[in-house]
Amino acid sequence: MTIKEYESYYVPAQSKWPIVGAIALFLIAVGAANYVANLNNPENAGGGWVLLAGIALIIYMMFGWFNNVITESMSGKYSHQMDNSFRQGMSWFIFSEVMFFAAFFGALLYARTFSVPWLDGAGNNAATAIILWPEFTATWPLIKTPDGTETTAMGWYGLPLINTILLLTSSITAHFAHVSLEQNKRGLLKFWLGLTVVLGVVFLFCQGLEYAHGYADEMKLYLDSGIYGNTFYLLTGFHGMHVTLGTIMLFVMLIRVFKGHFTPKNHFAFQAASWYWHFVDVVWVILFVFVYII
């Protein structure tokens, strides 16, 4: 890299957005904590409103902050090196998200491999099984917990399989959208990107249907139905939240495409959204294997 490129590294001036974001996060945390702590105490549940105010403020911050970045980018203030900073920052952010999911996958695998069999006396735990819950039998999915809660396992065929196909397809369409952008075929770009957003929305809809099935009386698969229900809902739920975020990101990119943003060479935001999309897709594949199939 030449000296000239270094000289043009853009250090932004003072900005009010970070402190707005800090206050927003504060409201979200206080509101959420208050709301959760008063779940059984509805007359004292002002926390929900604080939470909503925080979310509104953080959306306002994102508009303002990204608006600044887009304006700076389009006025040519960013060098190749700046672009690298953004790319590396986004990659490590996605890595941190991977580790967040790893915690829950770790819990799932630990429960399946160790804690459930041990409760049934595996290893040197015969006494545990005899004294605590002699009736308990270890199975996975754990459809009957040691304290007797019964539930039903979600099969992998049907909706989950359709969802897998939807999400895998959407990763491919996202890739086609990227290729179209690089070849400067704007019409195709709009088509593939729009299709990706639609697939994301359909996925979320199917996920909602699946939850409705789970909570229906035939299945009785609830969040608190023992370790199987816990890991099922937290893993698919956090994944669903990430799909929601990813869909919003892609939708914003679609709006920006219609506004004429991005060039074949310069489209970091688009790329970041598409990386994020591929990441939620990969998480789903792992999830499909470990939560549904095996």
Partner: protein, 534 residues
């Protein structure tokens, strides 16, 4: 490493372009800032305030433990004190102090104009005071603050927790976001912003240690977020991750927590290695002995930190294979750590030593951290650990590595760079008082804890058997002496900011590195044009 001193820095500052806006004044300067030096200063001040806050809690604990019996506080409040003392010192004092040092020094050391993502940098800092406001606010709630220990073991933090757990959980979430964003900024700055010619193996060791630490942070802080999330759902939404009745396991909490927790303790010590690897060569007037072995040792320690977590849980009834695996892996860490201690000693060997305050703290670090390392080795032995587990021996061990280790290195770094930050030399007499008072009192405070632990005194209790009374009296006296000694540092820093003897560009004749090629105090913007490194 040799460096070409860049041509007059002020020349660059005079024809500054649009990104050289004048400083805002007043509160807006600090709220809106994107400047790594401003943000670094805020981190350092925040961490010092938190250090005094957490220290005050430690003194409440020591006041209660001065005599056997219950005198001053209720047992539940005692538990709140130990819990919040730990949380504050780990997440509020040590980690932000290191991030502050990173912010101040990394861009100058790699020859960059600022951190790579300056606005994100501001956000990373400013969410932190809010997180601690939430955590501390729980003292004023009906339920009181968290009382389950900073390790928040389930079911203490779930089934048996008081009403403030949700606030604890969301406060920790924000601390985690702050650390992850800060770490991403450090990684990107180091990967992407180094001056031309500064290859990885030419980076100062300080930069290397922060680089590796940042990776550890990105890898494990999200796991902590997952852990507190599971605690939240177990407490409020009826899940049973950590409840055997639903198929979960309280021991699983410990596995997930310590998968975060063990790398976390290295997050608090690897930057300390970087600091003393900077100061010891400077005051020995010799280059660091075995630079590349230091880099590889740091990386090895970081790698090993991921496969030793269960040595915190030897008494939970793991399978024998697990006990042996984690014991041997833990002992293996002694090898790269030994390499480091050897290299620091070898750097001083036949050096032309002088004993300015940063060097005093660094030498104290090497010796006292090694004591903490040895007691760690004792704890690593599974059969012996059954005896030491949850006694004051453990408390002695981790305070030796975190106070005389991490904290002393932060003092060493602060004294080393204060002239660069403020433009003035600090008061040498006061600094010597600070060092000697701290050194004597800290050993009075923590050394007898070894004996207490070996004799069987459990940790986290407000009352104890009579035979522990004498040692506890001395420990408490040491604690108060150490606490008061830190006020000397506060006075010294304020005096140093307000004036004193003018600091030259390079006040330490043995110092190396780009930060000494710019004036003292360092100009608001440094290295808008990168220096050339041979």
């Amino acid at each position: 490493m040799t460096t070409d001193v860049i041509d007059d820095q002020s020349e660059h500052d005079s024809h500054d372009g649009e990104h050289h806006d004048h400083k805002m004044t007043g509160i807006k300067r600090w709220l809106y800032t994107t400047n790594h030096k401003d943000i670094g200063s805020m981190y350092l001040w925040f961490s010092f305030i938190m250090f005094l806050t957490g220290g005050a809690m430690a003194l409440v604990i020591r006041a209660e433990l001065f005599q056997p019996g219950l005198q001053i506080i209720e047992p539940d409040f005692f538990n709140q004190m130990t819990t919040v003392h730990g949380l504050i010192m780990v997440f509020g004092a040590i980690m932000p102090a290191f991030t502050g040092l990173a912010n101040w020094m990394l861009p100058m050391m790699v020859g960059a104009p600022d951190m790579a993502l300056p606005r994100l940098n501001n956000w990373s800092f400013w969410i932190l005071p809010f997180a601690f406001a939430i955590l501390l606010s729980s003292f004023f709630m009906e339920s009181g603050a968290p009382n389950f220990g900073w390790t928040f073991y389930a079911p203490l933090s779930t089934t048996y927790s008081n009403g403030s757990t949700a606030f604890f959980v969301f406060a920790v979430h924000i601390m985690g976001i702050s650390s992850i964003m800060g770490a991403i900024n450090i990684v990107v700055t180091i990967m992407n912003m180094r001056a031309p010619g500064m290859t990885y193996m030419k980076m100062p060791l300080f930069v290397w240690t922060f680089f590796i630490t940042a990776y550890l942070l990105i890898a494990v802080m999200p796991v902590l977020a997952g852990t507190v999330t599971m605690v939240l759902t177990d407490t409020y939404f009826g899940t049973s991750f950590f409840d055997a009745a639903g198929g979960g396991d309280p021991v699983m909490f410990q596995h997930i927590f310590w998968f975060f927790g063990h790398p976390e303790v290295y997050i608090m010590i690897l930057p300390a290695f970087g600091i003393v690897s900077t100061t010891i060569p400077a005051f020995s007037r010799k280059p660091l002995f075995g630079y590349s072995s230091m880099v590889y040792a740091t990386a090895s320690i970081a790698f090993l930190s991921f496969i030793v977590w269960a040595h915190h849980m030897f008494t939970t009834g793991m399978p024998l294979f697990g006990e042996l695996f984690f014991m041997y892996c833990t002992m293996l860490i002694a090898v790269p750590t030994g390499v480091k201690v050897f290299n620091w000693a070898a750097t001083m060997w036949r050096g032309s030593l002088s004993f300015e305050t940063p060097m005093l703290f660094s030498i104290a670090f090497v010796i006292l951290f090694t004591i903490g390392g040895f007691s760690g080795l004792m704890l690593a032995m599974t059969p012996a650990d059954f005896q030491y587990h949850d006694t004051y021996f453990v408390v002695a061990h981790f305070h030796y590595v975190l106070v005389t280790g991490a904290l002393f290195s932060i003092f060493a770094g602060a004294y080393y760079w204060l002239p660069k930050w403020t433009g003035y030399m600090y008061n040498d007499t006061l600094s010597k008082w600070h060092f000697w008072c701290s050194l004597i009192s800290v050993n009075l405070l923590f050394f007898p804890m070894h004996f207490l632990g070996l004799a069987g005194m459990p940790r986290r209790i407000p009352d104890y058997a009579l035979q522990f009374a004498d040692f506890n009296k001395w420990v408490s006296i040491g604690g108060f002496a150490f606490g008061i000694s830190q006020l000397i540092f506060l006075v010294l820093v304020i005096k140093c900011i307000r004036g004193g003897e003018k600091a030259p560009m390079k006040p330490w004749d043995g110092a190396e590195g780009l930060e000494w090629t710019v004036p003292s105090p360092a100009p608001y913007h440094t290295f808008t044009t990168p220096p050339k490194i041979d």
